[in-house]
Symmetry: C2
Subunit: 427 residues, 2 copies
């Protein structure tokens, strides 16, 4: 607990890969702050996360009316733009920290809500610490979001449930397609899930069993090394039993030597320290085609799985909204440097609450799919795994469709005229 | 016009690539036949199209109750399974034709409804002609379905509107994603559409303009050769103007020499006379990445675009249902060898009717995207193109969601016990 800051304006920003419900968290922060006018002053959003803070690219959120707020709640992408950009360490680039301090002082920011990945939330905290050490009191609170579901100490991550629902729905539909055509066409179908080195999104395909109980399913989560012979044996078994096989594979699948099983990982190393994944689905389809000597197909939903606002889980949406609200309440409590994580409070009915954990503590951990959710052979989901997933995809929350298309026209907000000297964050 | 057949039982079958609404046509045939008990006798469905006829794999449709019929109307895939298998020419394989005659006689089939592609519908007609020439009167009517929208003489094809709606929705959502992250992440995103050598599904991405009017859009329909320099120049322009570019490409894109622009067309020639397409999206992403020296991404929805029952166009659904109904009415009129195609009867409000055309006539034609729908530079859609597309995607018709997932559990129907000698259609 720390004292309430003297400056009482609010800054909200988004960073890292988006989710279909990240803007529910944004709306929650804005609406909850509005409920405490005795505590909070003006609210701002930074454009492009911490980059927008450095470059003084801000939006005055008092301009946002209720109609826009309602639109925001259905909007995919990051309404205030999200950056894949982080501050350098303080000792390498003190100018960045001085600049943030100058911006925070200029706009009297006392509360900083950072809706990002683990790493970027810790950076937000560090720069806030720097401000505090230099006489400007700031409370920094993280707001969790990731489709990967790798946030540790949390029951699950806001954003995951919607991606899981989208992937499960798509996989079920595709399974019915292949089921109806396999006798004279495709016998092996594979879909590639995001998630980098964790297989949560891959496991979501296991939900096909709830609709097609006998689906000939094969999962290749990133938590298990790809063993080619075992894979091909299982494919053969399923095709022999049911005529076809449907597979979900993690983009981050590795072989037994720890090498990525994909075609593009080597070629496309563009961002520093960030290997672009993707392509494993086609490798797996090719391996199966050569083995079965038949037609195979591969679907790569790519960004569709993290932006499918038309297939959002109501539960996940509520969780993302709740995460934003919990962050504001944590700020009121003066819990600087924390992140509200999801704590399951009841199984039947499924219920959850939020608990503040130390940002630095959670940043160094990774939630992988536990052993008890993966079958012994490493290629299927257990009942425990299905029991975990099912509550997270409950309920539907589509945007209104107008003229046949989702009414998700981007929100345009007037930027605050900058007053500080120009600062170029990215050359 | 021909006489009403003596045999009056009905056979319905499905063939070729599925659509999200093919089973609406199936339901329409079943329900419309039920409305004319004085004309029609028993109804059967063949499993796997003409293959199931040869192999005497039939379902007695009198077993299907109203609950199952309602389920059928939301079901993706082909409820009675669809084959990529066609009869040989009569002179090469008369045994196949004799076999169909034997099955038609055994089950007293007087009406044969074939829900397939152009080629397979003509085969259905030819085998029916053979039966008629051998003393067994059969009326054969086609029921159109294709997501590719290449059916000539028809305003559009049942199945296209839903695939277009799904692709447009997904493309719009992904555009908002890239729009919100391009400053420090992906600047070029491409999605790959099916459609073989026609670009209708690619043009559907143009609907993004109705939601994001200034979307930096680039279309590569199969109707235009890929000109690398012009493409890269347009990419550069759009990235310079708006910071990013979103692209949709036809799987059948060819270069100026008529070669497919993809990586797998050469490798995967598995089915006879059928080059498997797919992969052009990744080639385009790579070309753009090399040119821009930045991160690019590619989504390949693959089968998802033809099985997305959760994103069906109500208009398309009604059109598919109407096509099945029109086929039964054409049969009652004795219009053997015809196909009901869609005729637009009004623009405001959009309305359509069906008109019978000769199956053989339509089979030799292909509806490509006309010049007036493609911009002069070949990489954008015109207002005329948008005006054409928009009515086809109107309305939403989701299956009920139960327990968080679409209630599309496959329908299990009891097969008729075969009575004829075994016949192996596919070795």
């Amino acid at each position: 607990m720390s004292q309430a800051p003297q400056a009482n304006n609010v800054l909200y920003a988004q960073a890292g890969g988006v989710t279909a419900v990240i803007n529910a968290s944004a709306a929650a922060v804005i609406e909850t702050v509005q409920q405490y006018p005795q505590i909070f002053g003006k609210s701002y959003a930074a454009i492009n996360g911490i980059k927008g803070v450095l470059e003084e690219e801000l939006i005055d959120l008092s301009d946002i009316d209720n109609t826009v707020l309602e639109q925001l709640k259905y909007q995919p992408g990051a309404a205030f733009h999200a950056c894949r950009f982080d501050l350098d360490p303080l000792e390498h680039n003190p100018a960045q920290y001085e600049r943030v301090l100058a911006v925070f002082k200029q706009y009297q920011i006392g509360y900083f809500f950072y809706n990002g990945g683990n790493g970027s939330m810790v950076t937000a905290q560090k720069v806030s610490d720097y401000c505090r050490a230099h006489g400007h009191e700031v409370i920094c609170i993280g707001v969790a979001k990731t489709i990967d579901n790798d946030l540790a100490l949390s029951h699950c991550s806001p954003g995951f449930g919607s991606a899981a629902k989208y992937l499960a729905t798509s996989f079920i539909e595709a399974t019915l397609d292949i089921r109806s055509m396999h006798e004279t066409s495709t016998k092996f179908f594979v879909m590639e899930a995001m998630g980098r080195n964790v297989g949560w999104l891959t496991m979501a395909a296991g939900l096909v069993k709830k609709v097609i109980p006998d689906a000939p399913l094969l999962l290749l989560p990133a938590e298990r090394p790809f063993r080619r012979e075992a894979f091909l044996q299982r494919v053969s078994e399923l095709v022999e039993q049911q005529g076809y096989c449907v597979c979900m594979v993690s983009e981050g699948l590795q072989d037994e030597h720890g090498n990525y099983v994909n075609i593009t990982a080597v070629e496309h190393t563009i961002e520093q320290d960030y290997t672009q994944l993707g392509g494993v689905g086609e490798v797996i389809a090719k391996i199966a085609a050569d083995h079965l000597d038949c037609k195979t197909h591969c679907a790569i939903p790519d960004y569709l799985q993290r932006s499918a606002s038309h297939c959002v889980s109501e539960t996940d949406w509520l969780m993302a909204y709740g995460a934003g609200k919990a962050a504001v309440l944590a700020a009121i409590n003066g819990e600087h440097g924390t992140l509200p994580v999801v704590i399951k409070t009841s199984d039947e009915p499924f219920a959850w609450d939020y608990q503040s954990v130390d940002l630095q503590e959670v940043a160094n951990l990774e939630l992988r799919v536990p052993d008890q959710f993966i079958s012994a052979d490493g290629m299927d989901i257990t009942d425990a795994g299905l029991d975990y997933l099912l509550p997270l995809i409950q309920g539907e929350r589509q945007p209104p469709f107008v003229n046949g298309l989702p009414a998700i026209t981007p929100i345009h907000s007037q930027r605050v005229d900058p007053v500080l000297p120009t600062f170029i964050a990215v050359k």
